[in-house]
C-alpha cells in the first residue's frame, strides 16, 4: 500500500525526523491561506506547492511549483488541482491531482538520496544512500552503481552500528559545506537510527527520502517522503485504512482486494480465473504462447468460498474488454465444485455473452463438471491447460 508524501512526512515528524513546515490542502483557497501562515511563521516569501499523487517523478512532470507569495501559491494551485499529472510512473493518461501540499522554501546546499528497502538476497533491511539526490535512483543504480552506498540493518539490534553510520556519513561527505560539520554528521546518524526504527515499527516495504537535503545552515531535512507499507502487516495497523487514498487505486483492483482476491488488470481480451498465483501467471503465459492476450491476472487463492468465486467471475463478466473467458483450476485445497457453483451463480445474474472454456482438475473434479453440465451454460471443456488455452484463443479470434 502506498501513501502520500504529506502523510509520510507526518510519520517522519512523529519519529523526530526533520521535515519542512507544511500543510495539506484540497482547494486553492486553502493553499493561499496555508501559504500566508507559512510566510508569516518563517519570514520567507518562498513556498513550494506540490501535487500529491502516489506516482514518482512529480518534479520533472511539473507537479512541484516553487513560488513567491500567497497569491502566486494560489495561482499555482489553481493550475495543478484537477489537472492530470503525467510522470514516468503514471502512464500516458496521467493521474488526477486532487490534493496539494504547501511547504516552506529552504536554502538547499546539497541534495542527497536516502532509502530503506528489503534486500531479498541478504534477507535484511538495507540502507541505500547516494550523493545523487533529487533524481531517479533507478537511473543512478544503472549508470553509476558505485555512487550508491549500502549498509544492512542488523535484525536483532534493529539499527546500524556506529561504524556503519560513519561509513555512510563520511561516504556522502555529509559535513561538506556545513558551517558545523560535526553536528551535521551527528544529526545524520540520529536520522538513520530513527528511520530504521520507523521502517520496522510501521511495517514499511519501502521508505525513501529523495532528496534528503543539507541546508546552508548545516541542517538535515527530509524534503520528500515516499513510504510503501507491507500489505501483509495490515492486520496490526488499523490506522492504515485512514491513510489510503482510494482515488489513487485502480477501482477494479480495489474491488478485488476488498473481496480478498488477487487481481491485476492487463491490456488483452481473454479473462482468466485461476487458483494460485503461479498457475495464474502460467495461464497468462500460455494464452500469449498460443497467440492470445490475457485481460487480467486473477488468483482466487487456495481457500476461496463460492461467494468469492462468484464475485471474481462477475468482475470478469462485467469487464467490457473481455471477449472470452478461460477458467483454469488445479484444485488442491480449492474444490472444483466450489468453483463451478460460483461460476454458475455469477452467470445467473449477468448472463454469459462470450465464449467460456473451463479446465478443471483435482479435488471433486467430477462433481464440478457435473454442476457445469447441468447448468445448461454454453461451456467448452478442456482436458489440459494447453487444450484450454488453444480453445479460448480460437474462440476469441473467431468472434
Amino acid at each position: 500500500m502506498k501513501i502520500h508524501e504529506y502523510q509520510g512526512k507526518q510519520i517522519f515528524e512523529r519519529y523526530g525526523i526533520p521535515v519542512p513546515r507544511g500543510e495539506a490542502c484540497f482547494s486553492a483557497e486553502e493553499v493561499e491561506a496555508a501559504a500566508k501562515r507559512l510566510i508569516e511563521a518563517t519570514g520567507n516569501e518562498v513556498v513550494v506547492v506540490k501535487a500529491q499523487i502516489h506516482a514518482g517523478g512529480r518534479g520533472k512532470g511539473g507537479g512541484v511549483k516553487v513560488v513567491k507569495g500567497a497569491a502566486a501559491a494560489r495561482a499555482a494551485a489553481e493550475k495543478l488541482l484537477g489537472s492530470r499529472l503525467v510522470t514516468h510512473q503514471t502512464g500516458p493518461e496521467g493521474q488526477l491531482v486532487q490534493r496539494l501540499y504547501v511547504e516552506q522554501g529552504l536554502d538547499i546546499a546539497r541534495e542527497l538520496y536516502l532509502g530503506l528497502v528489503v534486500d531479498r538476497e541478504q534477507r535484511r533491511i538495507v540502507f541505500m544512500a547516494s550523493t545523487e539526490g533529487g533524481v531517479e535512483i533507478e537511473k543512478v543504480a544503472e549508470e553509476t552503481p558505485e555512487k550508491i552506498l549500502t549498509e544492512h540493518v542488523d535484525p536483532v539490534s534493529g539499527g546500524l552500528a556506529g561504524y556503519q553510520t560513519r561509513k555512510l556519513g563520511f561516504g556522502l561527505e555529509i559535513g561538506k559545506g556545513s558551517p558545523t560539520p560535526k553536528e551535521t554528521l551527528a544529526e545524520f546518524s540520529k536520522i538513520l537510527s530513527k528511520l530504521a526504527v520507523l521502517f520496522d515499527k510501521e511495517d514499511c516495504s519501502l521508505c525513501e527520502i529523495n532528496p534528503l537535503i543539507v541546508t546552508k545552515q548545516g541542517k538535515i531535512v527530509a524534503l520528500d517522503s515516499k513510504i510503501n507499507f507491507d500489505d501483509n502487516a495490515a492486520g496490526r495497523h488499523k490506522e492504515w485504512s485512514g491513510l489510503m487514498d482510494k482515488a489513487e487505486e485502480d477501482p477494479v483492483e480495489l474491488e478485488a482486494q476488498e473481496a480478498g482476491l488477487n487481481y491485476v488488470s492487463l491490456d488483452g481480451d481473454i479473462g482468466c480465473l485461476v487458483n494460485g498465483a503461479g498457475l495464474a501467471m502460467a495461464t497468462m503465459d500460455i494464452i500469449k504462447y498460443h497467440g492470445g492476450k490475457p485481460a487480467n491476472f486473477l488468483d482466487v487463492g487456495g481457500g476461496a468460498n463460492q461467494e468469492q468465486v462468484e464475485k471474481a467471475f462477475r468482475m470478469i463478466l462485467s469487464s467490457p474488454k473481455v471477449k472470452g473467458i478461460f477458467v483454469n483450476i488445479f484444485g488442491g485445497i480449492m474444490r472444483c465444485d466450489v468453483i463451478a457453483e460460483g461460476v454458475v451463480a455469477a452467470t445467473r445474474g449477468l448472463g454469459l455473452k462470450v465464449p467460456l472454456v473451463v479446465r478443471l482438475e483435482g479435488t471433486n473434479v467430477e462433481l464440478g463438471k457435473k454442476i457445469l453440465n447441468d447448468s445448461g451454460l454454453k461451456i467448452q471443456s478442456a482436458d489440459s491447460m494447453a487444450d484450454g488455452a488453444k480453445k479460448i484463443v480460437a474462440a476469441v479470434s473467431g468472434v
Binding site: R123, D154, G276, M281, D285, I287, S384
Partner: protein, 297 residues
Amino acid sequence: MSVLVDKNTRVVVQGLTGSAGSFHAKQCIAYGTQIVAGVTPGRGGETFTAEGADKKPVSVPVFDTVAESVKKTGADVSCIFVPALGAADAILEAFDAGCRLIVCITEGIPVTDMIRVRRTLEGQPVRLIGPNCPGIITPGACKIGIMPGHIHRPGPIGVVSRSGTLTYEAVGQLTALGLGQSTCIGIGGDPVGGLDFVDVLQLFNEDPGTEAVMMMGEIGGNAEERAAEYIKKHMKKPVAAFIAGTTAPPGKRMGHAGAIISGGKGTAGDKIKALESAGVKVAPSPADMGTTLKSLL
C-alpha cells in the same frame, strides 16, 4: 529414496485444531503421514481423531506448547497452520523445541517478521520450508502440507517450486508421463523465506534416489539466477525448468508477495537466459513441463 522426509518422519502440527490445520492434518494422516502431535495453546489435553491410510482411527494428542509435544512424542518435524500474525512466533517456537525441519504453510506473514526469524535460524541445525508454500511430499511415504496427494507417484524426479498449484500442474504432467517423484518441495512465494532453490538443488544433487530435477520459478528476486550459478558449477543431474510470468507487467505484485518485477529486475526473460546458459532446459510453455523433463532422460 527421498530428501528431508520419509515414512519414519514424526510430525507435530501447530494450529492443529484450527479449520485449515484440522482439514489438512486429516488429509496428511489419510495419506499415511505420521502426525504424532498437535499444538494449540490452551487446548492441551484434548485428542484429535482422524482416519489413517488403512482406514483405522488415529488419535493425535494435543499439547499447549511445541516443547512439550516434542518431549512426549518424539516429533522431529513441525508443520505450521498458525494465522499470519502469529506464524513467525510459531516458527521460533518449533526451532526452540528442537525440530530439525519446520514447514510453514501460512500465507501473509509480514516481511519484517520473517527477517527476524531468518536471523535467528541462521547457522543453526534447522531447516525451514516456506512460508506461503504447499509443503513437502515424498510420494507414498510422507505428505506434510496441502498438496493433493493422489496426483503424486514414487519415482526418480525431484521437484522444487515457488508456487503451489503450478507445482501440482507439473507433478500431474510428470505422473501422466509415467515419471514418479522422489520428493516435491514448495519453497514458497514470499520475498524472505527458508530453503531456496540452491539449498534444495544441493539436497537433490546428493540424493541417490533423485535422477533429474524439475524446477518452477517465477518473476521477482534473483533466486533463479543464483540457482543457475549453482547448477553450472555443481549439478550432476539434468534439470528442466519453467519460469512463470513472461507476460507479467512491471511494478505489479502478481499474487505472491515476492512475485514482482521492480526496477527492471527479476523478469522472466533474465531468469530463462540465466538458466539456459547453465545448461537447464526451459519449457516453452507450462503445458510442456513434463515433456521437457522427459526429453532429458
